[in-house]
Amino acid sequence: MHEVSIMSEALRIAVDAAKSAGASRIVKLRLRIGKLSGVVPEALQFAFDVVAHGTMAEGATLEIETVPAAGWCATCQAEFDCVDLFNECPRCHNFSGELRRGRELEIADTEIS
């Protein structure tokens, strides 16, 4: 997985925002990662330690919020819980490959000082 590219992008966004706010340090970074994004949280932590080294975010806490996956049934016009990308709608038992949530790769916020 491309955890390093993802983490560098998160850091870039946070550092830009922190600098515009006149901060000297980033103390926390919060990411929102979908359960089915394919990204491994432990690998993100490792990648973070690598990319944050020598930056204003060195030593910051990385917090990862996992977003559960929800599928969308076009027949029932309703959402349902998913364990993987392809799930049966519990109401009509049709298969749906359409996810509403669960593939997120987002930065939620950052704490600065």
């Binding site: 997985m1 491309h2 590219s5 993802i6 992008e9 998160a10 870039r12 966004i13 946070a14 925002a17 922190a18 515009s20 706010a21 901060a23 103390v27 990411l31 089915l36 394919g38 969308w72 993987d84 990308l85 392809f86 298969f95 490959g97 359409e98 996810l99 509403r100 593939r103 997120e104 790769l105 987002e106 930065i107 939620a108 916020d109 950052t110 704490e111 600065i112 000082s113």
Partner: protein, 263 residues
Amino acid sequence: MCQECGCGSGGGDVKIGPPPHQHDHHHGPGHPEHGHAHTPAHGILTLNLNRSLMEKNALAAERNRRLFRAKKLLVLNVVSSPGSGKTTFIRETAASLTGKLRVGVIVGDLATDNDAARLRTAGIPVVQITTGTVCHLDADMVAKAASQLNLDQLDVLVIENVGNLVCPADYDLGEDLRVVLLSTTEGEDKPLKYPPMFHSAHVAVITKCDMAAAAGFNRDWALANLNRVSHHAKIFELSAKIGDGMKGWLDFLGERAATTQHK
């Protein structure tokens, strides 16, 4: 990316400001009474960002798409496991189109330029991207590589992605068609194991069909898996090596290239 899924995550404005906080606190002696707004938790401030980490690539992909459209180019992003036959398939496709459509290739490779050399000897304009440790191509790399080709002299641009069914799934390159290969020698359940890649494909090609019998390939099972996971894709079965089934694919490509040129 899938249009129906609504899976693209949205951006958002950078909102700067401390979150609302309520606390009772005591200041040290000598501190005057006051009503004040201050940053919570000893000078720590929260900046709400709410931005997609794929946004930078998405913007670069849109720039590529605009350029490709202006040049009336049909662009393919060819993905598969290592060794499923991407280079062979691209070389045979380009060779068969000689005199009909002008094909250029961008090839991504972790370490070598063997694939680029194989394509070049077939007389195809090729630009090589050596990705090193990066396991996928991104839209910026493609933009740089494309600038080394004379796009005005091309009708079709084929991008051979790094052999990997995981990471390339998340990176839009600005292509018109994402083409995923599944070879008869690698296991019929690949679509189930790598659903994001197979689901995002516009075209799914079963390759090495000449090897099917020797590999004990279960065609019905593979097709069932593709129909389930790659439900947006048009499916082709062929052998790039001996040419069987190539015609259906080439006709499809020809039609798509014609549509692109008349847009």
